[in-house]
């Protein structure tokens, strides 16, 4: 057990990108490449063509500039790979934190397809490798704040959600985009139990989904996503609670009206649609003012929008965030 004194560096303290790249990403990615190499021949053959990263962000990709400011303010230690991949909420594989790592081996991520439908000009069914094509795969380090008041710092590999939304070309009437997890109790054994209404559903307002911070992740720590982290494709929206980050996505649908999301459906007084990280709005059963960063001893204060307020607060201008929790 690692006991460390609290990290008192405010997240607003900006570290230059160069320092960030050298200190964090290089270390993280070196480890990642080593891990990825070891696992390269393994289960996720789909990813053979995915560009493998060397140290540092890609310079030839459009959206990079948009999120570089965010990455550079993350002078926080990465949560170890072992913790990121062994402490998961993925109820399709059990409700204990260590259950998904034990049980998710039954998920088959080969020949994965993603259906795009609803209010868009270009619906279709894509193989995973075709689906991710318009996106430039990049590595991004984000804080991940779970609604249960624990948090991690995770180096994701993924691409801007906006890229696939633009390709789908939503109609003017589309205001929301909804995602669906695979429904297959044969592969996801706990879908046999009515813990939640399966399949798991999540959704974003279209302007949220187009925000450059919102990504679809295909990997973590420079390697393909392990099954328990939502392979082969999951949503990552770093300013929202972790349950918005729907895993193992098979459908993306454009809708006019706000759809229900699974946790809101399960307990609407506890979980809302927006689920923006907000230290001022407590969960009925625990405070959201503080969080335990895994690996740290003392709880640290939770930041508004998980520290991404500068980038995303404008999405919610004029909204009552207490009512729209």
């Amino acid at each position: 057990m690692l006991i460390r004194r609290p990290d008192d560096i405010p997240s607003s303290e900006i570290t230059s990108e160069g320092v960030y790249v050298n200190r964090r990403q290089f270390i993280g990615m070196s480890a990642g490449v080593a891990l990825g190499g070891a696992a390269g021949g393994g289960g996720l053959g789909n990813f053979g063509d995915a560009p493998r990263h060397e140290a540092g962000p890609r310079s030839d990709t459009g959206p990079q500039k948009d999120w570089s400011t965010v990455r550079s303010d993350l002078d926080e230690e990465l949560t170890p790979y072992e913790d990121v991949t062994s402490y998961n909420n993925f109820y399709e594989f059990g409700t204990g934190k260590s259950d998904p790592a034990k049980n998710a081996h039954t998920l088959r991520t080969r020949s994965w397809t993603i259906e795009v439908d609803g209010l868009c000009a270009n619906p279709g069914v894509y193989g995973l490798e075709d689906f991710i094509k318009p996106g430039a795969i990049e590595d991004r380090v984000y804080r991940m704040r779970c609604v249960e008041a624990w948090s991690m710092v995770i180096p994701w590999r993924g691409f801007a959600l906006k890229d696939v939304i633009d390709r789908a070309d939503p109609l003017g009437s589309a205001r929301f985009v909804q995602f669906t997890t695979l429904l297959d109790p044969g592969q996801m054994p706990y879908q046999r139990y009515g813990i939640l209404d399966w399949p798991y559903l999540e959704a974003l307002r279209l302007d949220e989904a187009r925000h450059p911070l919102a990504i679809l992740a295909t990997g973590v720590y420079g390697r393909d996503l392990p099954n328990q982290n939502g392979a082969p494709l999951r949503l990552v929206v770093p300013w929202k609670y972790g349950f918005k980050g729907i895993k193992s996505i098979v459908n993306m649908r454009f809708l006019e009206d706000m759809p229900l999301n699974t946790w809101k459906q399960s307990a609407s007084h506890e979980y809302g649609f927006y689920a923006n990280v907000n230290p001022e709005v407590n969960h009925p059963r625990w405070t959201q003012a503080r969080e335990r960063r895994l690996g740290e001893f003392r709880r640290r204060p939770t930041l508004m929008f998980n520290g991404y307020g500068e980038q995303v607060a404008s999405l919610y201008a004029g909204m009552d965030l207490r009512a729209n929790y």
Binding site: M1, T79, E82, D83, S86, Y87, Y91, T95, K97, S98, E148, W150, I195, L196, S266, A267, N282, P284, R285, W286, T287, A289, R290, R292, L294, G295, F297, R298, R299
Partner: protein, 206 residues
């Protein structure tokens, strides 16, 4: 010693790095589960004795109950000292505003007088009132199960198992009475148990 098994298990898990990525939470849950299990085992002693007529088992009741209190106290201390780092502002907010914590804390408070009056001297001094007082164990255990139930997010399987076992025990208690003696007659043990006839109030249940 049965009572130390959870503690030994916890130490073993700690030493062999089996507490996962969030050991503080895991220890908290381990202690809470241990307390609830011991409370339920403690409450099952009398029904087992009265159904089986196996009297020596009654001697296990006090140590079992005290171990339950021991784990519950550790659970509370771990929460306050380690989990919340004795940040009383947040602890107070939790206890006052979060019903599952309020209920859990109440359960502990109810068990304090039971632990204090578990000695032979207190049993003698309180006489008839001792058994009435110690029926609070049922209230405290019920609150413990409620605390467990309200604490989980969606998977209520184990809280419901705990509630079912507790309901069964309470039902047995109502059916067979909570009189101190076994169903078969037994010579009165002076001092230890104040009354040997079935308690007339017991048929009302709790």
């Amino acid at each position: 010693m049965l009572g130390l098994t959870p503690a030994a298990l916890l130490v073993w898990r700690g030493l062999t790095d089996r507490l996962g990525a969030n050991p503080i939470e895991e220890v908290l849950h381990h202690l809470g589960r241990s307390a609830l299990i011991f409370l339920i085992i403690t409450l099952s002693v009398t029904p087992i004795r009265r159904v089986t007529g196996w009297n020596p088992i009654i001697q296990a009741r006090r140590p079992l109950g005290l171990f339950a209190f021991f784990y519950l106290t550790l659970h509370l201390l771990w929460y306050a000292v380690v989990d919340q780092t004795y940040d009383f502002e947040f602890i107070l907010e939790d206890v006052l505003e979060r019903r599952y914590i309020m209920v859990g804390f109440t359960a502990w408070l109810l068990l304090v007088p039971l632990a204090v009056t578990s000695t032979k001297g207190w049993i003698r001094r309180l006489g008839k009132r001792w058994r009435k007082l110690h029926r609070l164990a049922y209230v405290a255990t019920s609150l413990g199960v409620l605390h467990f139930y309200w604490q989980v997010k969606a998977d209520t399987y184990w809280p419901i198992v705990a509630a079912s076992v507790l309901a069964l025990l309470m039902l047995l208690r109502v059916r067979i009475g909570d009189g101190g003696g076994p169903l078969r007659s037994r010579k009165p043990a002076r001092g230890r148990r104040p009354v040997e006839v079935a308690d007339p109030t017991s048929s009302k249940g709790l």
